[in-house]
Symmetry: C2
């Protein structure tokens, strides 16, 4: 354990991060994507989601133009990387309440771009529940202990854990889920929990543009163990075919066909 000790009463040092409400309460939001040749892939979608979340959570000083300029400068020499952008609220006084004039901190972190998985994915059913909050649902906020706890079940590189609210599947611990059920593609509704992923949104639009029906609807635990095909999505992995859900094996050919039908690239 490392120990840090700060006496905020003195107000001598602005310990930016320790007084940041991201660290204190998870009061913030983030996005994760891929940088290629100095630009974030699908960056307008990332910026749109960040702006919507900033508005919803009343981050009054959030300024998209400043962020874009900062990223232009910071990323100009980056060929390829994984990027995380975190926006969190600075703390003004003690306690949960925030001032609507509170400022925010933007933290940009790069890491190596993960390699695309070679093997298809095995889905494991979560033993811990998803966190449910109709106001927070859909947003990529910093309260992610449910995903942290669920991901304890991941024992190998080709696994992902699927979380549920009561009897309804929400998605993977770090991904959205699509299933082929009765020749119809479906993805769970995210009104009570989960994150509205950018790749999920892209795929829904690509399917609609290509005349492939897709519906957003509740999908039960029983149902996902009885589907014809499935895949999971996120901004780093793109489309990852599923070859196993719990003990049931699935063919991935439907997913490969869909990928080429919609000309999907990460």
């Amino acid at each position: 354990m490392n120990f840090y000790f700060f006496d905020n009463r003195e107000n001598k040092v602005r310990e930016e991060i320790l007084l940041n409400r991201g660290n204190l309460y998870g009061d913030g939001f983030f996005t994760t994507g891929i940088v290629k040749d100095g630009k974030i892939l699908h960056q307008n979608r990332h910026f749109e989601r960040l702006q919507n979340t900033a508005t919803k959570f009343q981050f009054a000083d959030y300024n998209e133009d400043l962020l874009i300029q900062f990223l232009l400068d910071s990323l100009k020499d980056i060929d390829e990387a994984c990027i995380r952008i975190t926006i969190s609220r600075q703390q003004a006084g003690r306690g949960y309440q925030y001032n609507q004039l509170s400022k925010s901190d933007v933290t940009v972190q790069l890491s190596h771009r993960p390699e695309a998985p070679v093997e298809p994915c095995h889905l494991v059913l979560s033993e811990t529940p998803v966190s449910v909050n109709a106001f927070l649902a859909g947003s990529k906020h910093l309260n992610r202990l449910d995903s942290v706890l669920a991901s304890r079940q991941i024992k190998s590189d080709n696994q992902e854990v699927v979380l549920f609210h009561e009897d309804n599947v929400i998605g993977g611990s770090r991904s959205n889920l699509f299933v082929l059920d009765n020749k119809q593609w479906k993805t769970p509704s995210l009104e009570m929990a989960g994150v509205e992923g950018i790749t999920r949104q892209r795929i829904i639009e690509l399917m609609q543009q290509n005349g492939i029906p897709v519906s957003i609807e509740p999908i039960t635990l029983q149902k996902i163990q009885d589907v014809e095909a499935a895949f999971i999505t996120n901004s780093l992995l793109g489309i990852w075919p599923v070859s196993k859900i719990a003990d049931k094996c699935l063919e991935t050919i439907h997913v490969e066909n869909l990928k080429s039908d919609i000309n999907f690239v990460v």
Copy 2:
């Protein structure tokens, strides 16, 4: 907005806090209390709750003895303060998954002890929902966006916001709730949401020791608008009598009597 840019690929700097999972996912827990003459009031209860949460969340390197020694040294010259102790997991690689050998960071922060409120409390009904997760319920973890959002409704020093799960009251945004219903003291069960407060626990025990019946049970939204008395509790405020719930006024004499019957001191 302030901007921080770190390229973790270089691995040159260990930016402890920005690589801390408290900041990334709210992966951690905390406690808040009062320091008097170099010691935390009811410190054994705080340490017990911290230890239980560390075990539950698999903070393998959590070491109570080291924490106690650190606090003894750090607090020895402190007459009086409010203290927050935060334990959060250090990040090893990218992503939600943690290594069971992950280390943790302990952050101790002092601030001025808030003054005891002079006026009784007005309870306002929350417009945003409590976050529900049966595994996380009861723990004082870092995923507190529900309290942050609810506390937006606090407009003056004598207000607190009460959160609900469906039709059941859970507690205040920063407090536990007790109500007197049909001459019986009751406090909401916290199996689905909320924090098991140290003052709540102390009061339940004090009531039991003094032969005053108290029950832990579901309490509905309708019910709390029809009680004879109510108070809220936390480690900083102690017992705070409620004089109004939504539009209904309450007498505080029952709470004052209870306080003296159980010889309550903060």
